[in-house]
Symmetry: C2
Subunit: 459 residues, 2 copies
Amino acid sequence: MTDTSVEPVERVLQVLPPEIVVTDPDVMEGYARDQSRFTDHAMPSAVLMPRSTEEVSACLAAAHAAGVPVVARGAGSGLVGAANASAGCVVLSLHRMDAILEVNAADRLAVVQPGVVTADLRAAARRSGLFYPPDPGSVEFSTVGGNVATNAGGMCCVKYGVTGDFVIGLQVVLADGRVMRTGRRTVKGVAGYDLTHLFVGSEGTLGVVTEVTVRLVPEPLAPHTVVASFGSLTDAGAVVSAVVAAGLTPSLLEILDRTTVQAVDAMSGMGLGEEVAALLLVQSDDPHAEELLGRIEGICEEHGAVDVARSSDPEEAALLMEARRLALPALERLGDWLLDDVAVPRSKIVEFIAAVEEISARRGITIGVFGHAGDGNLHPTLIFEDALPESRATALAAFDEMTRKALELGGTITGEHGVGRLKRGWLADELDPVAMQVHAAVKHALDPDGLLNPGSMLP
Amino acid sequence: MTDTSVEPVERVLQVLPPEIVVTDPDVMEGYARDQSRFTDHAMPSAVLMPRSTEEVSACLAAAHAAGVPVVARGAGSGLVGAANASAGCVVLSLHRMDAILEVNAADRLAVVQPGVVTADLRAAARRSGLFYPPDPGSVEFSTVGGNVATNAGGMCCVKYGVTGDFVIGLQVVLADGRVMRTGRRTVKGVAGYDLTHLFVGSEGTLGVVTEVTVRLVPEPLAPHTVVASFGSLTDAGAVVSAVVAAGLTPSLLEILDRTTVQAVDAMSGMGLGEEVAALLLVQSDDPHAEELLGRIEGICEEHGAVDVARSSDPEEAALLMEARRLALPALERLGDWLLDDVAVPRSKIVEFIAAVEEISARRGITIGVFGHAGDGNLHPTLIFEDALPESRATALAAFDEMTRKALELGGTITGEHGVGRLKRGWLADELDPVAMQVHAAVKHALDPDGLLNPGSMLP
């Protein structure tokens, strides 16, 4: 930290209530970064913990006046470094703004502050007989604000969509402290530009969200579950394609490849078997779930499934889902890990996983693939040794190859985790030069001094 | 037209292929405005009819260089003047770009040019066993490009959502002729800002859409239909609330008030009856439609429905839906008409319609209300005499009162038709001052010279 940066930060701190300012380095350490690998971060100059929209506005206005960068964060459970502190910045942690302001069954909506944990919103909706579908892997600890900032996905998306599909209105504090509302409380509405979805997924680079209005849906029935194992990855992939082509929409359709299945077996002793090349997990929460899953079982058998099991009992279903729950923990036990997040058109899933297997074999690096087969969003997970520079280099090279392969297949560099610092270098590979110029123009229109989350997403 | 404006337009025309330029006033007359009332328009200096993205780019680059305003249009079936020519402008008609480029069943998506008629896209999807839900009233003649520009809705929205919910990618030509792509072909994707939905609903003020990628859904079953009549508007409104509260999601839930029902009776001799205060039309295309509609019939009966009829036969269902189809034509026969388009939270529908009845009685003006009760989007239609200044004034005053009432109830000034020229004066009543500033900043970032559709949407 240089002298020139100390002074502006103190100008910020002196106008804020002392009880929302933290400068203890031991405390700040826990607010300096998210859960990503291969991303850099600095120590913040201070961590601000506002309790209201007014305090967020005061923080941003002061930082703007002093020219101090601001990095907003929710729970810090992100995986791309989109909440990593940059040099000289203040971190704005929204965790104190954790009130569920309204759950309205008559209008099927909820209004929450950004620090509300996603699982708490889901539970509050359920108490009103309603359902908030978004279920990122971090659902038990991530916050709604963080989910909005990254447009988080999850396993529900194949039927229900992503976080942004449920956000109908926001309160946002702009870079200079101005406060505005976007969207509305009605189901439909087209008055003006869709600023709501401009902020959703903008990773804290355009403003700070201080209130979120989400639509809720009727609570579905308890899901029925099918697990099918395959001796060939191609067979499993063909099932996914056939399910899509048959017009069937399960509420969950996940895939685990051989590497992941073996890691799960090694960890849990579930005995899924050495011969399993791929596992498909399917759920339906429809009123006609039995018929739908019956058809999917038929497709599995037509495509040579080795084993197919079904349950409508919630406890038994949880047991069947255990392999998916353990996928990442099991892979993590194999070494240091780097989780990728690409999406490809659903017709290209087999081709993508085959390419990953080829990369893994050629580079001699373990890569477990699991993810949301139903919408083509996969999480190839590299296992490497962080202490060995050549192992890190191999991991990074394989990561680059996989990301480019997804683009080559008409896919995207990130399906649900975001760009952040991790994928920043690949953004211009996906977007064309004019789209990159428009990103810069929009950023400049809303944050002309470039103070919001510098170093994340944009070049 | 002044001399100063002639010269710039000629600079535009001289660099374009003559076969895409129209300056015949008789032809241009048909391209000067949309179907709105109470909106002003000028005669364009020329109508440009590009056949490709490259030609659109050439048109915009030339207009930009010469400082000539550009008003893009689809079929011109809009109802708010968002495609009305402004003084000295060139109109850019996209009707020649009408190719369906791809219908991909494996990835459940379609790629179309903007001039494709919406019904043609729906038919093409159906030939692949797929469904493109958006069904604005103008579906048989409006274009996908126009639907995207206005984020058009329709009767499907209560279950399926609006146009924007199906758009996953765009090709856009910017004000200066630069061409870019937004979005992608995958189901999920969060690389960069959501520029796709910034352009959806922007009414041609930020760029011109030259290609649209939409997601498709599996083709649903033929719908079952229920029609219920009520002796009291409050009862019908209570049914809508109870359906929402019970977690039931029909695929269509429309309402017609007494004035509309009587107009339909007068036109068709359907004999719905003098005593009918409100008619509800409900459809479900779910596999469990019979059970769902059975529950809704029960709710209708609990709330004192006078008559309830159901059919699963498509022809009989079409007969039951006839009253809805005739709503606007029947009201149009009563005089000159001005169609409003507001949306309120679903719990406020009864309160809104009651307010309209009060306004109608107090001002002595006929107002028929019909619309999409299932998502709170209503179309109160004023009947007046255009030739009488005092009748026009009364209509406009009632229109203003209804629009403000929707806002007062937590609603929006436009649910699906857009702002255009008609609702421009009310936009700042819905959006807060900072949101208006952000609209101006975004507009300036993408169209710094203000050449795209001036006079529409923004102040």
